[in-house]
Amino acid sequence: MTWAAIAIALIQLVFFVFLAPLVVGVIRQVRARLEGRAGAGVWQPWRDVRKLLRKNPVHAEGSSWILTAGPLTVLVSSLLLCALLPLVGTLSIPLIPNDLFVIVSLMLVGVVALALVGLDAGTAFGGMGSSRHMTVAALVEPTVLLAIYALSIPAGTSTLSVIVGTRLQTPAVILSPVSVLAMVALAIAIMAETGRLPVDNPSTHLELTMMHEAMVLEASGRDLAWLELGSWLKLAALLGLLGNLAAPWGILTDLSIWSVAVGIIAVAAKVLLLGILLGAGEIFLAKVRLFRVPELLAGSFTLALLAVTASYLVA
């Protein structure tokens, strides 16, 4: 059992390192097509990373080891997400159950590392990005926790793989109002968490509108590669989680070649589908003002809170 779980974790790790750049490539491609361009092809993120790894990073004078360690921390926290979340299978390592609060705190480690990278060189834009990034992160956290709390009530535990397993066995749960409200809230929170529109515009060149981009302005070469890969992995992993919560079918519950194949294909399909939806959806969205973001998050927070209380009071 333990070995099976570790094997699944390894499979998820390797597969998502392969999948994440592809997802980003797909999102960009969809956007390009809808904007009337040919697009760089779905493999472009791969080429970007390969190139960045070959370059000699430049460090700002007076910047510290944070500029080297921060990106690695971001990457590792995202990799931990990929290893622990129930993506390909719902088996979880006995000593490290993919507990909701642990997962969220691992995510926050990455968030903090990124914010410190932004501050390290001591440039104006870095600080600006870092400040905005942390503000959004602080406001997102309640929504994320409450949303998954709402989802956890039917399963009676905060272990994500059990939650997904429960939804797999009793699909009726998925359509319950609680779950619907919670999923909407969670989706919004994830958009904010991964810096997509309408909270942050990942493809902006205008520093004043940046959050994530502004923090990585000083990073180059390998450091930049880790940062980018880290954020892509996070996006892919969270999309995978969303997909498995919304449609848990295909996720494996026991280890066998056949089920592994099915699990991989299923999660890839879900993530890529969500990626396409995301790319297409972003065409129709504009970035909201930074100070309208709290409204958005308050909205999703309200939905999540309603979901939780309702799930207690209705049943």
Partner: protein, 671 residues
């Protein structure tokens, strides 16, 4: 005479010796001698507490020349736990003080009162009856006031802070006096054990509960009686603020825990809800104030309010859950409360000592003028960083474990046996999760700001001369940080010990799993940060391998100016400051913080369309202070003016008063 008795006696003796030494030895060696002596006093506390936790019993009776019964000290296991926590902070503080204390902070009085301050704090949890409790409590308050006043010659603010502080601590003392009085009256004994055994939920019990909770809450720095914290801490010498903010507030928490676990246990639901409300409000309000503050020590003080708020939230949750039948979750919540207190004591001590080190090195605690200390003060930055992670509840620190247990207790609130969830639980628990989450998020921002602005980026003012602090100060900070990490990586032993101090519904509450992980079978959860750390380390390996394969000729790192758009080199003044870092947050919480902005535009003489300079000033004040206390104080003042008229110093008037009084008494007696 058991070892515990001996230990408590030793603390009294050592404290007295310390005071004597501090008084007698010459100033040249005073710091070293009395610092070591204080450390020994505290160490005696650690040992005694450890013995109590190990199950040794013992009592100490001191007959005083006071017209009261002899003082009795007989620590319970809970008391033992707090004795350990408080006096370990005491050790760190004393050692740090050797290097830190200078000027008036190193005077005789300061060291003497530090000794008695530590003693009093260590003995409060040991008190077995309300009289000795209150006596130790008051000693603690007085000594801390003296310590707070240490630097009053140098700065004017000190005295006003001291006035606020002593006013608040006297208030809390009076409340406690009232509370214990009521209890003693209803039970007929001042012994805490007697009170605990004959628990009464009568109206009198309710009254006592309210008085005690508010009294302890004010010492723990809860809203709305928190106003002394942000004033006292920046003015006190840093090792004293560490002692106050890490140890003394824990004494306040101990009081609340004692009330809810020992004196008035299994209280009605509304007690729990009331504590939850106070705690929740304090947590959110405290961290909001902290996140928008730029003075490092004020920031830390407000974050103390936040952490104590969380502790009270947990206590209240435990009462509510017990009241509505979810006993396992109730125990878990209480465990969370204790873990939060322990973890807070450790990391807050380290943080304040770190702030002290910064002040020592740069003479500055205003974040807006700090920066780039990482390379100049590597030890301080490392210790402060670890403690800040704990304050932000990040893994693998003690803070994370504590908040994790709390959240788990919240979400497992549905009672055993599938009974329907009470409305109170179904509303209070989600809100509790929301509060903890929001608090954690804001704490994250606060401490990223504190660390990033102070240690990263470039110096914002001339601290190019700053250098690492003396080795004793380094040692105490690093020890604190190591303790934070130890509890964070191997929470198992600590949690088990903590759980052994509680009155449990089912034994045992906590099992150890793996290397040092914890599992709480009652609510079926498990956490092993050690395994998590190992996994993270294992994941690092392939990355390194990949790096070696993809780019074997290790790209050499070039250095260049910070990118400032190619224009003139980016000056330190262009960096984000702590104030600007928190600006978005101030806007988001505009309605709550009500910052006062004023914008001054100076136009050119020639034309009013050309602006010469724009000056923007934004100040965030403590709303509760300005809206609640100011009016009260003004009232009091006007009343005082009134009273002065009756006090014009004429002897005849006073005689007249006494004559009138006599007549009235006679009338009363006659009727």
């Amino acid at each position: 005479m058991t070892a515990v008795t001996a230990g408590m006696l030793a603390q009294f003796v050592l404290a007295s010796i310390t005071a004597a030494l501090a008084f007698s030895v010459p100033a040249s060696v005073r710091a070293v001698v009395s610092g070591i002596a204080c450390a020994l006093t505290a160490a005696a506390g650690v040992v005694t507490g450890a013995l109590v936790l190990a199950g040794v019993e013992g009592s100490l009776t001191l007959a005083l020349a006071l017209p009261v019964d002899p003082l009795v000290f007989e620590p319970t296991r809970l008391g033992g736990l707090f004795m350990v926590v408080i006096s370990s902070v005491g050790v760190l503080v004393s050692v740090f003080g050797i290097g830190y204390a200078h000027g008036t902070a190193a005077a005789r009085t300061s060291w003497m009162s530090l000794a008695f301050f530590l003693l009093a704090m260590q003995m409060v949890p040991a008190a077995a009856d309300s009289v000795s409790f209150l006596l130790m409590w008051e000693t603690m308050a007085l000594c801390s006031t003296i310590l707070l006043l240490a630097e009053h010659r140098n700065r004017r603010e000190v005295s006003s802070a001291a006035i606020w502080y002593s006013a608040m601590s006297q208030l809390s003392f009076l409340l406690l006096l009232g509370g214990f009085g009521v209890l003693a009256a209803t039970v007929g004994s001042t012994s805490l054990a007697a009170i605990g055994s004959s628990v009464s939920h009568s109206p009198a019990g309710g009254l006592a509960f309210v008085l005690l909770i508010v009294g302890f809450g004010s010492k723990a720095g809860l809203v709305p009686v928190h106003v002394w914290l942000p004033r006292a801490h920046p003015e006190a010498p840093s090792h004293i603020s560490a002692a106050m903010s890490a140890a003394m507030v824990s004494v306040g928490a101990y009081g609340a825990l004692m009330v809810c676990m020992r004196l008035l246990h299994d209280g009605p639901l509304w007690w729990g809800l009331a504590i939850m409300v106070i705690g929740g409000v304090s947590a959110v309000y405290g961290i909001l104030q902290a996140s928008v503050n730029s003075n490092l020590k004020v920031l830390l003080a407000h974050s103390t309010t936040e952490n104590m708020g969380l502790v009270f939230l947990a206590i209240g949750a435990s009462v509510v859950l017990r009241g509505s039948g979810a006993t396992a979750a109730a125990d878990a919540a209480m465990l969370a409360a204790l873990l939060l207190t322990v973890s807070h004591a450790l990391f807050k001590a380290t943080l304040f000592l770190g702030a002290g080190a910064i002040q020592h090195a740069t003479g500055e605690v205003n974040l807006d003028r700090l920066g780039g200390l990482l390379r100049r003060m590597p030890w301080t930055s490392a210790a402060f960083g670890v403690a800040a992670m704990a304050a932000a509840a990040l893994p693998i620190t003690s803070g994370f474990v504590a908040e994790w247990v709390l959240l788990q207790a919240f979400i497992h609130g549905s009672p055993a046996g599938g009974a329907p969830v009470s409305v109170a639980v179904s509303v209070a628990m989600p809100l509790g999760v929301a509060i903890v989450a929001l608090t954690a998020g804001l704490a994250l921002l606060t401490f990223v700001k504190a660390y990033g602005i102070a240690f990263l980026s470039r110096p914002r003012s001339a601290q190019t001369t700053a250098s690492e602090v003396p080795v004793v100060m380094r040692i105490s900070m690093v020890v604190g940080a190591v303790a934070v990490l130890a509890v964070g990586v191997l929470p198992g032993p600590v949690a088990a010990t903590v759980a052994s101090t509680m009155r449990l519904t089912r034994e045992p509450l906590v099992y150890m799993v793996g290397a040092g992980g914890i599992s709480i079978p009652g609510i079926g959860v498990l956490l092993d940060p050690g395994a998590l750390a190992v996994l993270a380390a294992l994941i690092m390996v392939p990355i390194v391998v990949i790096v070696l394969i993809v780019s074997p000729n290790h790209p050499r790192r070039l250095s260049a100016l910070p990118w400032g758009g190619g224009g003139s080199r980016a000056r330190p003044r262009m960096q984000y400051t702590a104030t600007s870092y928190a600006e978005p947050l101030v806007r988001v919480f505009d309605d709550v913080l009500k910052p006062s902005r004023d914008v001054q535009v100076t136009h050119l003489g020639e034309s009013q369309y050309l602006v010469q300079r724009v000056q923007v000033e934004q100040r965030v004040t403590d709303l509760i202070e300005s809206r609640l206390y100011r009016p009260l104080l003004n009232r009091a003042q006007s009343f005082g003016k009134l009273a002065r008229r009756a006090q014009n110093g004429s002897i005849h008037l006073y005689l007249g008063y006494s004559f009138a009084a006599l007549l009235i008494i006679l009338v009363v007696v006659a009727v």
